[in-house]
């Protein structure tokens, strides 16, 4: 049964915890459980490389559609599709060690989400991001990032920051 404390315009409720009630002791130690999950993620890596190829293809298709867009409204809709493709990569790549890819995707998402409207003179920056993501996926840049890839992603992030300040 929940316990409640009431005030003039608020109520604080301490509910019973169904989750805690379902949990018992005797499971794997936390370090062991986390290690097992990490191992599972490693096993999924080859699946991720297939997923990534599909996501990059989706990204390329979205970029092509954006470049072929006609008018501001169409451009906005196509930019949204590109954002969604990049957003999915941003959310997954880092889990499998593709930290550079995740950062570049994050930078592209920032540009597409925060710029009030995407103009044709943004296409160069967008293409640079997509090219970097393709290169990262083809080279399967996971593990320790190279100095060059760190410089590239920093440069892209800097360009986006300046563009958003305009």
């Amino acid at each position: 049964m929940a316990k409640a404390t009431k005030g003039k315009n608020y109520e604080v409720i301490v509910p019973p915890s169904k989750l805690a009630d379902r949990v018992s002791k005797g499971g794997p130690d936390p370090a062991e459980a986390i290690s097992r999950a990490d191992h599972t993620v490693q096993e999924m890596k080859k699946d991720y490389k297939t997923w990534l190829r599909e996501d990059i293809e989706r990204l390329m298709n979205a970029l092509g559609a954006l470049r072929g867009s006609s008018g501001a409204e169409d451009r906005t809709a196509k930019a949204e599709s590109l954002f969604r493709a990049s957003f999915d990569i941003k959310g997954q790549a880092g889990t499998f060690g593709f930290t550079i890819l995740s950062r570049v995707a994050k930078s592209l998402c920032k540009l597409l989400e925060e710029k009030p409207s995407i103009e044709t003179d943004d296409f160069g920056v967008i293409v640079a991001h997509v090219d970097a993501m393709r290169a990262s996926a083809i080279e399967q840049t996971d593990g320790t990032p190279s100095r060059i890839s760190l410089e590239v992603v920093a440069a892209l992030e800097g360009i986006v920051a300046k563009r958003l300040q305009r």
Partner: protein, 172 residues
């Protein structure tokens, strides 16, 4: 294999995410932790139906989904008349990482906010927090959900500025 950790074999988890690969990642991690009872949904409308049918002990949901996103899904879980458990621990797992996103999710009543990309350690820590330190819930005219304050009253030694705390002190 038995140890000193949680036995999660009876815990029921609902995963709501529009990306099936992401659902697979989350499910695989949870299975490695010992969870075996799952339901999944690819957006919030179906997710809420599954929530009502399955009545899970833990929910993990994404933000960006259509037609019903994670924010609206959370609002329904916390506020709908037919919600089977408005207090369910709800972890929002999302690639939206800007501060205003965190605030918005907090203000709609999520229990924990976890940024993608996901790590096994961070997921385990959030689940552990939900088990060991469940938060009380607060209801006001405009909010129902977990207490949004991280610190408890006992940690603070300065003046009480909230109207509700002043009233509570006056009533004591």
């Amino acid at each position: 294999m038995s140890g000193s950790g949680y036995n999660l074999s009876r815990v029921r988890v609902l995963i709501v995410d529009d990306n099936k690969n992401m659902r697979e990642i989350i499910r695989s991690m949870l299975e490695a932790f010992g969870v075996s009872k799952f339901r999944e949904a690819e957006e919030g409308e179906v997710g809420y139906k599954r929530f009502v049918e399955f009545n899970p002990d833990l929910v993990i949901c994404d933000w960006n989904m259509e037609p019903v996103d994670g924010v609206e899904f959370t609002r329904r879980v916390r506020n709908n008349e037919d919600s089977p458990n408005r207090f369910v621990p709800l972890i929002m797992l999302t690639a939206n990482t800007e501060a205003h996103h965190v605030v918005q999710a907090r203000d709609v009543g999520v229990t924990e906010y976890l940024a993608k990309p996901l790590s096994a350690q961070s997921l385990y820590q959030r689940i552990s927090a939900a088990i060991e330190s469940p938060r009380p819930f607060v209801r006001t005219k405009t909010y129902f959900g977990p207490d949004r304050r991280r610190k408890r009253k006992g940690d603070y030694e300065g003046p009480e500025r909230r109207v509700s705390d002043q009233e509570a002190n006056a009533a004591d």
